[in-house]
Amino acid sequence: MRFLTCVAACALGGALPAVAQTPNPADWPAVLEQARGQTVYWHAWGGDPRINAFIAQVGEVLSERHDVTLEHVRLADTADAVTRVVSERAAGRDTGGAVDAIWINGANFASMKDQGLLFGPFAYDLPNWPLVDTDANPAVEIDFTLPVEGYGSPWAMFQMVFEYDSRAVPEPPRSLDALRAWIAENPGRFTYPQPPDFLGTSFLKQALYGVLDDPSVLLGPTDAVDYDTVTAPLWAFLDEITPNLWRSGRAYPANEPALGQLLADAEVDIGFSFNPGRASAAIADGELPDTIRTMVFDDGTLANSSYLSIPYNAANKAGALVLANLILDPQIQALAQDPAVLGFQTVLGMDRLAPEDRARFGALELGIATLAPDAMGTGLLEPHPSWMTRVAEDWTARYGTAE
């Protein structure tokens, strides 16, 4: 194996000459110059046609303005792109890698940053960075309690919202305790994606916030506390609701879209999502009935950001940097926030924008099911990544393998 690696590395060294010139993000004109004519392969989840259409639109602007071609590599799972970079390092390909940019956050980001698989820091050098509202949203610089340190550029913010059918649930439960009571009264009408799915585990973390007297322990690693004692109320809560879940907890939907489909089929009455604008967009496309509304818990719901990161061995780093800057452009950010397009929350600060750019955001309709920004309540900080891993593992041992 090692011999092969050697041979291949030599062959690669010969075959790939000067493509691997690493750009310096601080020298932006040089980055633009180097990016000209490059093709950027952006590895991003491809499961939502609205997101795919948005990325295609970004690609058109990128090619018009900067002569950079964008190829959206549609992933079924972001971890596939991580796998790709890991195999490239295993094969000794430290330059000319296939992944130029990844849409990433959470455990994937933590894992790549830990392993030194990311290029950077670059985010603070992007010309559009000063528009990002780091004062109002300090969370954009902290991904799941880990400082991003410029290894990823935040481009959208998300907050968990519950989606309910107002026909079936005129008075939705606005706290974890109210949800507990509602589930008991309406057996079979609520469920969550099966952990370790991202959204499913997020529900468990949301529940942790609801059952803990002092949720601040969630911001440190699990090793720092008496984990079993801290999580005992969570398991008590789940033991209580599980018999009254959809299918009595004998099966769970696989992921966010599967949960959304259950809501569309009226198999459940309450679902949830990390994109506050998803329900409105789905109603507009005829995928959800127009009686669906969204709500948040009075005590707040989990919030996080999405980042664009560049692998350490990306072949077209300059092009990827230009892309990272473009998706922070007010025009693109307003497009992403348009509920008819995506309904993502922008990371830009309105007071930092030129008047005509501010007007772009002001002109946006909210959408029939979307909450106004002041109705979104508190955004709760994502717990340390170790909670996600450990709670999902324990869930699997307790509920995921039974019988």
Partner: protein, 553 residues
């Protein structure tokens, strides 16, 4: 040139298979330098054994894999035994092409939509018969015994085994055997089982082994229909392999090796069962019971699964096609409230681009595989090329990361050529699988006659053997084409995301659970191989129109 073919095939296959296996076995014992595993250890196995769902997952994989294989084989043989030579049988065989060309994932989605509590069956009966104005809270899809998964697999494996049986029948004197058996007073089914089955089963063995290995390690169908707490072992291995926590790759590799051992164990058990059944069967056959009275009930029995599969696939696909043009479609409405082509127009550009790439890859790889297979078989190699069956027996998820590492070492990944090569690794076995038995069963006396008339070996091949095998050649090409179209993980990993096909697009979209999009891509994914299969079945009949002697039953 032809003499070098078996060697070429072995060389072409040995390297990827070896790299793939090393990529599964080395990390299973702790060796994966890029992730910090520099020394061998048994830790991955300890981690695997510590997973609480292991016992249940292994039981599930065995139960669903063996269950689906036994059922598929039994149904196939029953249908052929009860109906061969009748008009209904010709109708059934003409339906094979659409059934075969339907990708597993699309068939599974179609079935799921039919039988789910919010599916078409429940909608058709609600609310007038059931009183449901909301979907009932019943666990049908993802049931814990894996019955829905078995149903989904049987639906796709019966057509495959049926095609293989037809190819085998064409090379045995089944008509004469049946004539003798019938004239001795045997019933149709019993007579077929006693006289024809032993002759064709030897040709069916390898396809059956492939079905068994596939059913035990399938990922996409199990994701859509299979249990989730825990899932089958193959799905769990995929979960670990794609988990963000990279240290789980070691556990995943150990699980992959375990999956390989399970498949080998099941194959060994199958061979043992074959022996036992053969021994009992010989006694049974020589007892001479005619049992003509069984024909009627057995025929009726064979009609049931035939209908179920036809309706399951047909209605499932119709459901998907309908979803692709559906507007709002609430429960319990039997049909959508409104229709629109929005999804189709949104996707049209992608459809054409990716459809072209897919057809190019599939056509080229099937053609190359066919040429290599003919050359290798002509050179007389049968045993030496056994190694190419390995890609069918090792779970894809286990040996593909290793294969992609090889592509990286050679600097070949991300190109159309590399994807073509890796498709060949999977297409070649299936082409050889469908061609080698008919090839062996060819009546060599025809070649002998040609040779005595002065024809050189290559002329015997081109002018006698290949024309006589037209049907088998066409089927082998179509099987290869469909195999290439269906490849997901190889295309994704070796193509580095730069070579897209309708299948990579479809599976990425399948993650969305969006029935409208899945409908669009399932229809397109089916159309390509369907066209080729239809040609493969029509062409021999067309060519043989004026050569009655060439016709096969």
């Amino acid at each position: 040139m032809i003499r070098a073919a078996p060697g070429l095939v072995v060389a072409l296959m040995a390297l990827p298979v070896a790299a793939g296996l090393a990529g599964a076995v080395l990390p299973a014992f702790g060796y994966f330098p890029a992730l910090g595993g520099a020394a061998f250890s048994l830790d991955p196995w300890r981690e695997l054994l510590a997973w609480p769902g292991l016992g249940a997952a292994v039981r599930l994989s065995l139960f669903t894999g063996i269950g689906a294989t036994v059922l598929s084989l039994a149904i196939t043989l029953l249908i052929v035994a009860a109906w061969q030579g009748t008009r209904s049988f010709r109708v059934v065989t003409s339906l094979l092409a659409p059934l075969l060309s339907l990708p597993h994932a699309a068939a599974a989605f179609g079935l799921a939509f039919l039988i789910a509590p919010s599916g078409w069956v429940a909608r058709a009966l609600s609310p007038w018969a059931t009183g449901w104005d909301r979907p009932p809270d019943l666990l049908i899809v993802h049931d814990q015994a894996g019955l829905a998964l078995i149903a989904g697999l049987v639906m796709k494996e019966v057509p495959f085994l049926m095609l293989m049986t037809l190819a085998a029948l064409g090379q045995t004197d089944s008509a004469r055997r049946m004539a003798v058996a019938r004239s001795l007073g045997y019933g149709r089914v019993i007579g077929w089982t006693k006289t024809v089955l032993p002759a064709i089963y030897t040709q069916l063995r390898l396809p059956v082994f492939a079905v068994l290995a596939f059913s035990m390690s399938v990922v996409d169908v199990a994701l859509i229909l299979g249990p989730t707490r825990p899932p089958t072992l193959a799905v769990q291995v995929l979960d670990w392999m794609t988990a963000p926590d990279l240290s789980l790759r070691f556990t995943a590799s150990a699980g992959a090796v375990l999956q390989l051992l399970l498949v080998l164990g099941a194959l060994a058990a199958w061979v043992l069962a074959e022996r036992l059944i053969a021994a009992r069967g010989r006694i049974w056959a020589s007892q001479g019971a005619r049992a003509p009275g069984w024909d009627r009930p057995l025929r009726a029995l064979a009609a049931l699964p035939t209908l179920a599969i036809g309706l399951g696939v047909g209605l499932g696909l119709a459901g998907l096609a309908l979803w692709s043009v559906a507007g709002l479609w609430r429960f319990p409405d039997l049909l959508p409230q409104n229709f629109g082509l929005r999804v189709w127009t949104d996707q049209s550009q992608q459809l054409w681009r990716l459809g072209g790439t897919t057809a190019t890859l599939a056509g080229l790889s099937a053609m190359i595989a066919l040429a290599l297979t003919i050359a290798a078989l002509q050179a007389g190699a049968t045993r030496a090329v056994g190694i190419i069956y390995l890609p069918l027996l090792v779970p894809q998820i286990a040996f593909l990361p290793g294969l992609s590492a090889l592509g990286l070492w050679l600097g070949l990944d991300g190109t159309l050529g590399a994807v073509l090569l890796v498709h060949l690794v999977f297409v070649l076995p299936y082409v050889m699988l469908s061609l080698s038995d008919p090839w062996k069963a060819w009546d060599s006396r025809a070649g002998l006659v040609a040779a005595t008339l002065g024809a050189a070996p290559w002329r015997v091949l081109l002018a006698v053997r290949l024309p006589m095998l037209t049907r088998a050649l066409c089927i082998a090409f179509a099987v290869g084409f469909a195999t290439s179209v269906a490849q997901y993980l190889p295309t994704l990993l070796i193509g580095a995301g730069r070579v897209g096909t309708v299948t990579t697009e479809a599976v990425a979209l399948a993650a969305s659970g969006n029935r409208r999009l899945i409908g669009v891509w399932a229809v397109v994914q089916m159309t390509l191989p369907l066209a080729v299969f239809a040609l493969a079945l029509a062409l021999p009949a067309l060519l043989a129109r004026r050569r009655r002697g060439l016709r096969v039953t």
